[in-house]
Amino acid sequence: MSQPFQMPRFLAAPRLLSPRLSLAQVPLIWQFAVIIALGLALSALWGGALRWPEAWVIPMRGWITRFFEWLGEDAGIGSYKVRDLTRFLADLLDQPLTWAEYLLYRGIRPLDLPPLPWVSIVLGAAILGHWVGGWRLALFSASCLLYLAVFGLWRDGMRTLTIVIVAVPFAVSIGLWLGIWAVRSRRVAAVVSPMFDLMQATPHMAYLVPVVILFGFGQVPALIATVIFAMPPMARCVILALQTVPPEITEAGTMSGCTPRQLLWKVQIPAGKRILMLGVNQVVMQTLAMVVIASLVGATGLGQQLLTSLQQLKLGAAVEQGLGIVMIAIVLDRVTQAWANRPTDYAARGRSWRFRHRHALAFGAALIVSFALAALFKEASVLPKRLTVTFGTQMDEAVRWFAKVSYDYIQPVRDFITVEMLIPLRDFCLAVPWVVVVGLVGAAGLRLGGRGTALLCMGLVLGIVLFGFWEPAVLTVYLVFSAVVICVCIGLPIGIWASRSPRVARPVMAICDTLQTFPSFIYLIPVIMLLKVGDLSNIVAILAYATVPSIRYTYLGLRRIPDVTIEAAIANGATPRQRLFKVELPVALPEIMLGLNQTIMMALSMVAITALIGSRDLGQEIYRALPTADTGRGILAGLSIAAIGIVADRLIQGWANKRKKHLGVG
């Protein structure tokens, strides 16, 4: 301790020289060129630099699979097995699920009572809509549910809804609790927030694999996967809400003599209510998205029906079922959003008890009326099949006809794109040695985010290589890259167009909002209808799902440019064209890049879904892992997708931050 450490002279010397040759001063292009040259040379000498030898792959996949098998079979202390615990948990969750099923569509079996008549649920939706958002929402909610009834999707719709209704309270309360905990303790926050990053970057489907091993197939495993998947956004919103409560409000609470508990529940949570409600909205939407996908592990409902229709190419039925899911999604989204933004009910102030509780009373009345109706007419209780309609077969025929007619036009285009563009691109991607990618990612990370970013990004890519997922990962990147390029080509002009005129902006943004509520599954329907299977269909499906953020962020980025900046450009005599390219786009670029970031994330999560229509990428790895219960394969493939997402995210964020600082807005 007494002697300070002395650096040996020969080691210290180059350090003294280095400031002049620091890496940061070498242009990135040159660094890239050197890395590529070195990488190619290396892979020419040693094939392992191009393809990591199969024999050297770390058998993590097998370890994880065996670990989960062990966990599901024999793990435990003494006679208490983990299996007993999971079974207990499953039984526990089964209770609320069963009751919700009884109530919504099965009838209360033990008491031999009928379920709630469908009429009462439609009326209930209307009353709920009116309560949170007025007449228009009431009408809208009721007609969406009516659609389910009329098209004979009632029972399946209710099945889907059941899981949502049961999962949401769980996800919300766990998220609330975790969020509060993270706000209170820095140490918890340090653990929890990167975990949430990872969880949100991992596609839905990857959650299903371990859940299947531990809990089997069925509604309960679906519920569990859904809760785990939908919880992080809530926790994030809680953290945000509590951190953005104005300090003077918290202090006013403290000075009023609040105990810490009172401060939290009576001051901070009510003050952050709006953001918390948005968290609830997110949970609801994520839940629905997950429930649809959970049909892969045996969740019944619209998702499962849709899956079957798609597999049997009954496209007409698929469209009807898909629309059913969309109806549920939009209603849930509108209702929870309206609830989050609901202003204080000034009108009810000082009115009678009857007026203030008018919605509850109305619902009571609706219940009585519909039970009375149900007693008189069976049709009011459960709509019989003969009263429902379906255009499935007609639509099938129409689709088939349309496909046949359009095939002559679409096929050459599809083949041309596939053969002339996609396959060469794919082959090129596959020919890139992994060493080059690790090097490029490292150099970019170092420049854009510093050493930590560089190490993280390199580590993630290296992980994909070492665990043997390089090839599917490259195919994933190739698909996502192609799709994202097109997304930007579509999104940028639409965003610019919308930013120019409010008349365009309103419908465009409304469409974007609506499209974003659809579960990703839905986007497969038109793709299968028009393109059959193949790389191009995957790309188009991804495209359909992931274009929205690049439109939205372009629009927002351009709208947020301060007026003075634009006025200065006009005053300096810029033509509209110069204004756009020299002023507006450069200033809005960071925001647009964040949109790109979002687009990539969504594209990556869609990759897993496109596995259903055939692919060779990481999504397929997850999908294949499901029936074979190969947990390691599923989890590692999911994490590889997350890793790609995180690398892209870090690099883009780093770039955007640098750029913002450069523009003086960061």
Binding site: E248, M255, S256
Partner: protein, 340 residues
């Protein structure tokens, strides 16, 4: 005097930075300005000592960033002082447990915030009942008390409004009502009126003085505005860079500023409403036909009489003639000595 000391602060320090307690220790509890800067610390409150007496209005003034808020927040323990001593009602406030602090805040302290700090999701009445609710008072009792407070600040009829529906002045009245609901002994006000426009502000100041006549609280009041300070204060403390530069009666500050900084504050002070005859009178004891003036009169109140009188007028204190005041002294008092 010491029996009615309500709050006593002694050598109070509050530093912001990475490890303030350690830093203060390393510098023997009295770091220089350079040391603070070098260590990357902000000395928000530095070595401040003063007493607040029962029923007194102490106004704290200073430029932005001089540490006024931090000082008041230390006393109310919203911030923890880095070192020093603090007594409240003769009890050591620094070593009070969390439970004791909650008790003190529930019954003895009230605070009004510059940005009102109202709870947006509660209407006026339930904002005012809030501290009582925290104490666990029953609904009827707390609403009755809150209505009383709402009436006191002149907001009757607005009980069911939400903060978002009120003007700034009305919101601050709610803040005042809320802070008074628990009937505190000590009342802290951190720039309560500076978010308000001048007219409403003057009105609120009058309102405040009216309330204080009734309530007779011990008050620590922060302001930027010297006129406001003069209007309200029994004593004024002036802060600069975290230190208390001078503390005294308004007259003291105007007549004997300790530093140029203080003098700068007092420069545009309304002398006629601060200086008393005693400070300007000459010691000539004249006898006049007009009754003598009181030495404690503000010069503004008697200026017209003195200036219109040909001869100096006698000044008396406790029935005894102690001096006189003529045109020269009055003009000096009103506009400052000629030499300057």
């Amino acid at each position: 005097m010491s029996s009615d000391v309500k709050i006593r602060c002694k050598n109070l320090w509050k530093l912001f930075g990475p490890n303030p307690a350690r830093f203060l220790q390393d510098h023997d509890g009295n770091p220089s300005a350079e040391a603070l800067e070098e260590g990357g610390y902000i000395g928000a409150v530095q070595d401040v000592s003063f007493d607040v007496h029962d029923g007194e209005i102490l106004v704290i003034m200073g430029l932005s960033g001089s540490g006024k808020s931090t000082l008041i927040r230390c006393i109310s323990r919203l911030n923890d002082p880095t070192s020093g001593e603090m007594d409240f009602d003769g009890k050591d406030l620094l070593n009070a447990t969390a439970a004791e602090l909650i008790e003190i805040r529930r019954h003895k302290m009230g605070m009004v915030f510059q940005n009102f700090g109202l709870l947006p999701n509660r209407d006026v009445l339930s904002n005012v009942t809030f501290p009582l609710e925290m104490q666990g008072m029953g609904r009827e009792a707390r609403e009755a008390k809150a209505r009383e407070m709402v009436e006191l600040v002149g907001l009757t009829g607005r009980e069911a409004n939400f903060p978002g529906e009120l003007s700034g002045g009305q919101q601050q009245r709610v803040g005042i009502a809320r802070s008074l609901a628990v009937d505190p002994d000590v009342w802290f006000l951190d720039e309560p009126f500076s978010a308000l426009d001048p007219l409403i502000r003057a009105e609120m100041q009058d309102e405040f003085m009216r309330l204080q006549k009734v309530l007779k609280k011990t008050i620590v009041f922060i302001t930027h505005d010297f006129e406001e300070a003069v209007k309200l204060a029994d004593r004024i403390g002036i802060m600069k860079g975290g230190r208390m530069v001078q503390m005294g009666t308004p007259e003291d500050i105007v007549l004997n500023p300790a530093t140029d900084y203080v003098a700068e504050f007092a420069r545009n002070a309304p002398h006629e409403r601060i200086i008393t005859l005693r400070a300007i009178m000459s010691s000539d004891r004249v006898v006049t036909d007009v009754p003598p003036l009181n030495a404690r009169d503000l010069i503004g109140d008697v200026a017209r009489q003195v200036l219109s009188s040909e001869t100096p007028i006698a000044v008396a204190h406790r029935g005894k003639i102690v001096g006189s005041v003529g045109r020269v002294q009055m003009l000096d008092g009103l506009y400052g000595p000629e030499a300057q």
